[in-house]
Symmetry: C2
């Protein structure tokens, strides 16, 4: 189906030189004796024929095809995390690299096949991404190649890594609540899952700021990461008489379920209870009132990871990308009647 | 950084044959006189060394590198639409093709560069996708190659195309409302945008079923495609005394805004008013009550498009993929007091 492609032979013919000569000229080789005139004719012929030198041919020589491979456990499982793909793709392109994508589905065998398929096609390096920050053991094959981990932490080895700064995000969220006057009646909504880096880091940041203010969380409503279980858990908590001045939710989906339970209990946000969250997804801006959320900078993470991958010399270290506060209208002062001042 | 790669030379050396002989054996050429013994030794050496024949080399011979290119106006701008990427990627992989991705951002010049970059790397065909169904003029360069349009209709030319069956989706939604007893007081919420294929097709299907039942839409609440304007528009409509028995929303985000306005007006879903929508996104399942929505089968569309691209002979036609109803709890009978029977 492909239309006729201008070949090196066509260029050579038009320039009146051998294919080898044309190849040397267009390949930029200066170690062969080629007359200035022949060189000029080859370049002119290439221009007139709109000849594009075959990158495949160049790849074969250098074992680089100007491509990078993005491996992820789940690609675009989340709109939001799909921004990682966009950020890395845009940056790769600026560096004149195209990007292969592959989804490992967390399956080591599928990952192995994808890695080999990409190596067969001469990729010059890998971005290895998780859709949710987690710790992995990087395969021996991957470790032999240029590699940047994205939203992923490696067990053991030092590998260039780009992750969101989740501990600082926890501090940011808690400082925002403290600044509005919340203190002793702040309740966490989420899963205290030590294996989920985002959860444990965010909670560490939260607790650090609380303890600086001589206080601690008033309680935790345990829930999985989706609206439905969050709604059920918060509804039960409120029905049991729980009356925090603020909920700090581990992500925007949990916050959505929290909103639903709060409204059903006849309470208003933020008049009766404030809500703050993490992710900064579209969902945060769709809720009423708009949800204040600490944003994961997915696009920026993808951008930085691709840049690190394309740089020739990078000493392996963990780059923590700042998570900005996206202010909504869900945080206000604690209700006056319920405010307790313990000092 | 790449580890030492086993070369054809290594295999030849181990097998005790020339590089040319090894190349012919592993390339599957049977037109050269090579002894059965030499052939056996080459294959054994290749196996022992875990030699993987270079696909790049093969690409150069056939001008195919076992890759396809996915071009899209926006990649993973929407979690949901990101399923198109997953579906096509999974199918390409089963056909032993990897997938390049490129985002055109609707910019013809960027698209041209991406197409050429992918051709330079020997892609065997293109998937050309839009995140929202629309009509495009396909560039001359793309038309010269194997091409399947995904969620995209072409102006003029006949090209293999995979789109959701939006007209049938409109019929399905309306039949669901009619089956629950709604008839004369159904209000559309959305943008009547003739250039948005999804909108006009859905509305055509809706109106077809209504006219079969001798009725028509009771009105339209005009809004853009996001929760915030939908909330404002529906709130204004209800404040003006609008009291439909059902809202039919052009997508799930509009339905989210509609939910917010309905609840704020003190009405219950579906007791006071039913809501039905299109997309079948995660959002539909997160709303309370769960939203009934006609789903876009993004993964399936990606799968079918990649399959059509990899098939050797496909006559160009438009494949319309069925959109299934995902039942939630947002559709019930019209409220008894308000029900009007006109016949």
């Amino acid at each position: 189906m492909a239309g006729p492609r201008v070949t090196l032979q066509d260029v050579a013919q038009r320039a009146g030189v051998s294919r080898t000569t044309a190849s040397f000229v267009l390949g930029g080789r200066r170690d062969m004796r080629i007359s200035a005139d022949a060189e000029r004719r080859v370049i002119q012929a290439a221009r007139e024929l709109s000849y594009r030198p075959s990158l495949l041919a160049r790849s074969l020589r250098t074992n680089l095809s100007q491509t990078i491979g993005l491996l992820s456990d789940l690609i675009a499982s989340d709109a939001f995390a799909g921004e990682i793909v966009r950020g890395s793709m845009a940056t790769a392109l600026r560096g004149e690299h195209l990007m292969f994508i592959g989804e490992t589905q967390g399956d080591p065998e599928l990952e192995r096949q994808l890695v080999h398929s990409m190596l067969d096609r001469g990729v010059s390096g890998f971005l290895y991404a998780s859709m949710y920050t987690r710790t992995v053991r990087v395969s021996a094959t991957l470790r032999e190649h240029r590699l940047v981990l994205l939203n992923t932490l490696s067990r053991g080895r030092r590998i260039t890594t780009v992750v969101p700064d989740e501990v600082e995000a926890g501090r940011t969220a808690m400082r925002e609540l403290i600044a509005h006057g919340h203190r002793d009646r702040i309740v966490l909504v989420g899963e205290q899952a030590p294996h989920v880096v985002a959860a444990s880091d965010r909670i560490n940041g939260i607790q650090e700021v609380l303890s600086q203010h001589g206080t601690q969380l008033a309680g935790t409503v345990d829930t999985l990461w989706w609206p439905e279980p969050a709604h059920a858990a918060v509804a039960a908590y409120l029905a049991d008489g729980g009356r925090p001045t603020a909920f700090i939710c581990l992500n925007d989906r949990i916050a959505m379920g929290t909103y639903q339970a709060v409204v059903e209990a006849g309470l208003r946000i933020p008049d009766d209870v404030s809500v703050i969250s993490f992710d900064g997804s579209d969902l945060a801006s769709w809720l009423r009132p708009k949800l204040t959320s600490i944003a994961i900078p997915h696009f920026e993470m993808g951008r930085q990871a691709a840049e690190l991958l394309l740089q020739p010399d990078v000493s392996p270290q963990v780059h923590r990308i700042s998570m900005p506060l996206k202010a909504g209208e869900s945080v206000g002062p604690p209700p006056a009647g319920r405010r307790r001042r313990s000092r």
